[in-house]
Symmetry: C2
Subunit: 233 residues, 2 copies
């Protein structure tokens, strides 16, 4: 594409560019809406960064998919890296918020833990961008996340949530004592995350469809079992 000075948006239904055509008056009044544009850019950026990573994503593609001008990206977000930082931060805030909404604190500990495992698995499945964004960020040694303060606050609540479940379980006698909530958090994430992020090489190595309905159900059951055995007395 972009051969000569051709309009890169020529594919779109831009019937009115220079002359106001009397026919189709409501075609494109082109409303100005900063918030909506920002939001479209963030959505498109999330998808592109997830598909190609921070380095592989193309700013022009993001602009095109957001139906926005590239100039707007730089106007609102400053740079590609700043855009990535925002996308990443939003992704973390989103998953941590969803976790908090689970309201596990007044559930029976085993039930609470199982729900957390189910939620984590389900979240990764429904939000595949999350995993790829995190992978990309780790390739860059977390240089973007380092600058985020919000994420830290949310993370503390996340660890506290697991701590609470464990403490209550030990008190009730259903969980053994001495399990590190951080290690458990990491493990809950790991057994779902690894399976999904490496599903392509995994399908080849194990000569199995890892993404069929049955395979996914089987893995979830296996993961719940793994975590339950880990904390049981």
């Amino acid at each position: 594409m972009n051969t000569a000075g051709a309009d890169p948006l020529a594919l779109e239904d831009m019937s009115v560019t220079t002359l106001a055509d009397p026919v189709e008056p409501a075609a494109k009044p082109r409303v100005r809406d900063a918030e909506a544009t920002k939001s479209r850019i963030l959505d498109a950026a999330k998808k592109e960064f997830a598909k190609s990573g921070m380095g592989g994503a193309r700013v022009d593609v993001i602009a095109e998919k957001a139906k926005a001008n590239k100039r707007m990206i730089y106007h609102y977000f400053g740079s590609k890296e700043d855009l990535f930082r925002t996308v990443l931060e939003n992704a973390y805030v989103d998953i941590r918020s969803a976790e908090q909404k689970l309201n596990l604190d007044h559930l029976e500990p085993r039930e609470a833990l199982e729900r957390l495992v189910r939620f984590t698995w389900g979240y990764y499945l429904k939000n595949p961008e999350f995993i790829t964004l995190v992978n990309s960020e780790n390739l860059h040694r977390a240089k973007h996340l380092k600058q985020s303060e919000v994420v830290k606050v949310y993370s503390r609540k996340f660890v506290a949530m697991m701590e609470n479940i464990l403490t209550r379980g030990v008190a009730t006698g259903v969980f053994r004592a001495g399990v590190d909530p951080v290690q458990l958090n990491i493990t809950v994430a790991a057994i779902g995350y690894y399976y999904l992020t490496n599903r392509f090489t995994g399908a080849i190595l194990f000569e199995r469809d890892l993404m069929s309905k049955e395979a996914l159900e089987e893995r979830l059951a296996f993961n719940i079992d793994t975590i339950m055995r880990l904390v049981s007395v």
Copy 2:
């Protein structure tokens, strides 16, 4: 760097380039060695692909680090993607070969399984490129690995190895029946892989040094415990 037509290898000890200096006669006869050059290219490529991913790695940088000319890369490997494919295939063959050398088949099942968990963890730690290469390959939906036949052969042996351990353990009565060797393989990899690949974001989220000697030992112990509890009767 690379400002004008300056020699990109100028930093190196290239004392003799045009005139044969009578002093230091054995300085640089510039021996021709195809195998050595290929090997240097592969080493440099592994490091670069691991550091920046397949997309982010730069062919010029690989050539420079390999102390080879970029043209040699194309001469020996055809394209950047073919070079990546070779590096990736080598990486898989390497880990699978090392696993086979563990000779777990005549060890007591629990001992064998623990050794496999220890080996996997140790291999990831000593070969951090492996993880990043696999991540990059999964970002590209395993398109390079799909073309490799060798890897499949090795993988079958890998699954068979775990199958053997499990079967023997069930027979001896130390392991419960019904554990899927593929799920177990995935889990053994997952709990080590995830911890290490996400160590940068992890350090921020959990406000902990995940790579200190103690932290690494603690995680390994936790992982062994997780796997043992998973298979125990």
